[in-house]
């Protein structure tokens, strides 16, 4: 784990954050758990579901899902209050303290590890990798509160309608800044100036329909010559760019020098292109309409495009369940996106439930295709460890800042609008040979894979209650349960296998671990009984390919 110099980070965030979380329904330990019908098939299925649908299983969610079943677990997640990222930063600012990006990241980590509304937070994280803005952008870097507020749009919209979310992000000043729609102005005939195409292009390519026409199951449609069919050309990009003209910060008193605002952008009609526009799919805007109406009509056209459902379904499935969903799986989820059963198109809650409860997502390991599953994102491997073993910083401050330097990923810090990795990334070697894509492998190069292994070295061997050189910010795990199993190596491996790999360890892994652990006396390292053995097992399993991959 990378930890930067302490001064700025340790200032008083924790009280503000604790306050917020207390008010948001944290500390749900005493909550009674209802008894439900649709229970997971077995412990592996239960752990697998929580690996897919949260930042990792923890004691409470395991107990809840095990007794309440999928429907009630989902219903609870749907109705829990949203934990927002901006309020703790606003609380800091209200105390007159400076707010930096690391504070925003601290809040992200705290909510990922500790917030009760796990599914909502996980969905927001997935959406932040589709509707990308990044604090690596220089103007957003200077506005951590703005970044948190953008993230909160995704948190709040996580279970809403995608069309509404599209409009929110389109008018979000953070997106306006990131993809330069902010202050985008109409063509000035004498000057040769023309509208900026950035947002228009990426809105189509990355947020809604993609480059090529898709079948309802997400596969490429081909023309009679066997070639993919482009969804749009440069003319449509230019026309759409003209739709997105005249927008700037809300309440600006000057077009040239508008003051920063986090409210939805506002239109200045004199900078909006009033001419007719030929958009995608034959949609013709007559011109002269209000800019806000044109924006809505353009978003409608993209949202109604037949690509929209399969395009988004595949990306969401890749974030939660598997890198290589079958076409039928994509088609089933896309169908729910098209109609949630009540006639609504774009219902993200229904779409999410469909992808999590799909038979392909829930099939037991033995019935999966060999390529099923995904490489876990590095952030999720770390949150998974801490949630499983109650790893918490003693002072409440997660100093896991800017870990993208080492791990290739940090919240809202994508290197570009193309996210940390591409949905179609093919990794050299066995994966390419098997015809599988593996997005997360794009950030799993020789440097990062070793850095990730080293992150677990720190998280485990310097991360347990009783660690002699702990600092106030050390994340310390409570390994009481595991220590009780230290004398029974096979039981310990069963237990850790379930929590870290959502299933039994492979015989090969088990054999190596058994031999290694058996050679470690219970009092090894001068630590309390069993500690060294448990730490060794935790480290070796957490860094193993079996724990890196989610099946």
């Amino acid at each position: 784990m990378k930890t930067l110099a302490a001064e700025m980070g340790s200032v008083g965030l924790w009280p503000a954050l604790a306050l917020c979380l207390a008010g948001c329904g944290a500390g749900s330990g005493a909550e009674p758990i209802p008894v439900g019908q649709d229970l997971p098939a077995d412990a592996a299925d239960l752990m697998r579901f929580l690996t897919q649908a949260s930042f990792g299983p923890d004691d409470f969610e395991v107990a809840y899902l095990g007794q309440a079943g999928f429907s009630l677990w989902l219903e609870r997640q749907r109705t829990l209050p949203a934990s927002l990222h901006a309020p703790p930063l606003q609380a800091l600012a209200a105390l007159g303290l400076p707010v930096y990006q690391q504070h925003r990241e601290q809040v992200w980590w705290k909510l990922a590890v500790e917030a009760p509304d796990q599914l909502r937070q996980r969905m927001a994280f997935a959406l932040s990798q589709i509707l990308v803005v990044s604090a690596q952008n220089s103007s957003l870097f200077d506005d951590p509160l703005g970044c948190a507020r953008y993230y909160d749009l995704l948190v709040e919209g996580a279970f809403g309608n995608y069309r509404e979310l599209l409009e929110r992000i389109a008018l979000a000043p953070q997106m306006g800044s990131y993809l330069s729609m902010l202050k985008n102005q109409k063509q000035a005939p004498d000057s040769g100036l023309r509208p900026d195409e950035n947002f228009a292009r990426e809105l189509m390519q990355l947020f809604t329909i993609g480059l090529h026409e898709l079948e309802p199951d997400g596969q490429l449609r081909l023309d009679p010559q066997g070639q993919p069919i482009p969804t749009y050309g440069q003319d449509q990009v230019e026309a759409l760019a003209r739709v997105f003209t005249g927008w700037t910060y809300a309440g600006a008193s000057s077009w040239e020098w508008p003051a920063l605002s986090h409210e939805p952008m506002e239109n200045w009609p004199q900078y909006h292109d009033a001419g007719p526009k030929q958009l995608l799919g034959g949609l013709e805007l007559p011109g002269g309409q209000p800019a806000a109406l044109e924006l809505e009509l353009a978003l409608d056209a993209l949202f109604e495009h037949p690509n929209m459902g399969p395009f988004l379904a595949r990306r969401l499935i890749q974030r939660f369940v598997t890198s290589n969903p079958s076409p039928a799986y994509v088609a089933r989820v896309a169908a729910v996106f098209a109609d949630d059963g009540s006639g609504e198109r774009g219902d993200l809650w229904a779409t999410l439930v469909a992808l999590l409860l799909d038979p392909e997502a829930r099939a037991p390991r033995g019935e999966q295709t060999p390529g099923f599953g995904k490489l876990k994102e590095p952030l999720l491997r770390i949150t998974g460890l801490w949630r499983a073993f109650e790893g918490r910083p003693q002072n409440g401050v997660y100093k896991t800042w800017y870990v993208d330097d080492e791990l290739g990923q940090a919240p809202l810090r994508s290197p570009s609008v193309f996210n940390f990795f591409a949905p179609d990334y093919q990794h050299p070697g066995v994966l390419s040979e098997a015809g599988l894509v593996a997005p997360e492998f794009q950030i799993t190069d020789a440097t990062r894979i070793t850095a990730t292994t080293n992150a677990f070295d720190v998280a485990v061997f310097q991360g347990y209650q009783g660690f002699a050189w702990a600092t106030p910010a050390s994340v310390l795990m409570d390994l009481g349960t595991e220590l009780a199993l230290a004398g029974d190596i096979e039981a310990l491996l069963d237990h850790l296998g379930l929590w870290l790999t959502a299933g039994p360890l492979s015989p090969g892994l088990r054999a190596i671990l058994s031999a290694h652990l058996a050679a470690i006396p219970l009092d090894a390292g001068g630590l309390p009984a069993g500690t060294q053995r448990v730490l060794e097992a935790l480290y070796l399993i957490a860094t193993s390919p079996e724990a890196a991959v989610q099946l």
Partner: protein
């Protein structure tokens, strides 16, 4: 194209005096001779170690501001097209190519090092390069009769097209990796990849079996925390686990990558430890400089590693200057200029400068026209080639008409490339040692273009 140098210099000098801005930094026949090509081929291509370094300018470099016309009507045309993006005439840094071109060029004011490298013969400019399927005329483009690369103006697609052997390549491999494979022969198990990346995974360095090995600019990241005999036993267990065969390709791939990182990291670390510290200072707070500093060390370690051929990939990000171009561009260009200069200096210090050729690539050039804040995705753009083997101080290819609506404008000042990526790539690959037959094999569409050697590198002796 070649004109009498004295006439040309006289002309330049007069123009400079006339307008009062042109500081032709040095003058005199002596310098021309010193900069002449005769000085280099001491280490003529052929035997010995050789390295090819790709500097990918990510996001789409606005090359029409990296170098710009600085005289008379050519500057006026440029300024008219670029509007608020145009650089002030008096700040430009003129260069003196050995032959005359459609107009005179000057570097961006943030690039004095590049101007110096150019005028001292170590740097060449290749004009208006981009992905093509066939040569494209403006009329063929406008009437829709031209065969075009797919998804023009899209970042991801054009990045790939630049890195692959043709614009219509179907496999995930790139020409750097395939080139390396064809020179090395079959895979050698356990050996360090000759494709070393300072910027992680990339398409360019992938071959059929070769893959980039990622090195951090800070050096090799090695496994930490194995103290004492228990630590050693843990390390052995970790390696054994990574080496387990798995019926699941995802797990197998992860283990393969872990094992490769451990084994090859150890080889690399040992080799780098034997490299003496470089005296050449590299600028700090410059991500490209950090990468190239490490590349210089890896090249110095090439002998120790048993690598006769090395292929490096570096990136400088941030070139997608839709907004704030006037603020962002000077910093980007200063980083590029200072990093390349330090790299060349370091290679000269190592005595390896003739064995290393560095070239730039980028998603695309940008629109000449402005959106009021910056520029948009274009197509063709200029590229730089650096090294002591490079036939520098020269511009290769025809300089494009920079007028909006001009001869090369596909619309909005997106310039139709005059040179295809594979012509540029083939010129580099030939110097790297690929035969004529190998070139046609590597670049399947090369014969669609007039020349497969742009002439900026000497042709190796047969």
């Amino acid at each position: 194209m070649q004109v009498n140098r004295f006439d040309r210099r006289t002309l330049l000098g007069a123009a400079a005096l006339l307008t009062g801005f042109g500081l032709l930094r040095q003058s005199g026949l002596e310098r021309l001779v010193r900069a002449g090509r005769a000085a280099w081929p001491a280490s003529a291509p052929g035997a010995g170690q050789r390295a090819l370094v790709c500097v990918f300018l990510k996001g789409g470099n606005d090359a029409f501001n990296l170098v710009a016309p600085y005289l008379g009507s050519a500057y006026q045309t440029y300024a008219q097209s670029r509007q608020g993006l145009a650089l002030p005439q008096e700040q430009l840094l003129p260069i003196e190519p050995l032959s005359a071109h459609a107009y005179d060029l000057a570097f961006h004011p943030s690039c004095p090092e590049l101007a110096q490298l150019f005028d001292s013969g170590r740097l060449a400019l290749v004009s208006n390069v981009g992905p093509l399927v066939e040569p494209v005329s403006k009329s063929a483009y406008l009437t829709g009769s031209a065969k075009l690369p797919g998804q023009l103006f899209s970042h991801a697609d054009q990045q790939r097209q630049w890195q692959q052997p043709s614009a219509a390549w179907g496999a995930p491999s790139g020409w750097g990796g395939l080139l390396t494979e064809s020179l090395l022969g079959g895979p050698a198990p356990g050996q360090l990849s000759a494709c070393l990346s300072l910027a992680g995974q990339n398409v360019w360095q992938r071959g059929e079996w070769i893959a980039p090995y990622a090195v951090s600019p800070a050096g090799v990241v090695s496994l930490s925390g194995f103290y004492g005999s228990l630590g050693q036993s843990r390390k052995a267990a970790l390696e054994a686990i990574a080496g387990l065969a798995s019926p699941r390709p995802l797990a197998q791939a992860y283990g393969d990558q872990q094992r490769q990182a451990i084994e090859q990291g150890a080889l690399l670390e040992a080799a780098l430890a034997a490299v003496p510290a470089l005296a050449t200072p590299f600028p700090s707070d410059n991500p490209l400089a950090a990468q190239l500093a490490q590349v210089a060390r890896l090249i110095a370690a090439g002998g120790q590693l048993g690598q006769q051929r090395q292929v490096f990939y570096c990136e400088l990000d941030g070139f997608d200057t839709h907004a704030d171009q006037a603020a962002v561009q000077p910093q980007l260009f200063a980083r590029l200029s200072q990093a390349l200069f330090a790299f060349q200096t370091a290679l000269e210090e190592l005595g390896l400068a003739a064995q290393v050729t560095t070239f730039t690539a980028s998603d695309f050039g940008r629109t000449l026209s402005s959106n009021g804040k910056g520029s948009d995705h274009g197509w063709g753009g200029h590229q730089l080639v650096l090294g002591s083997s490079v036939l520098g101080r020269e511009i290769y290819g025809e300089l494009p008409d920079l007028a909006l609506g001009g001869a090369h404008d596909a619309g909005g000042g997106r310039l139709i490339p005059g040179i295809a990526v594979e012509q540029y790539a083939a010129s580099l690959a030939r110097w790297f040692g690929l035969s004529e037959a190998g070139l046609s094999q590597l670049f399947p569409n090369l014969s669609s273009f007039a020349s497969n050697d742009l002439g900026f590198l000497p042709v190796p002796a047969a």
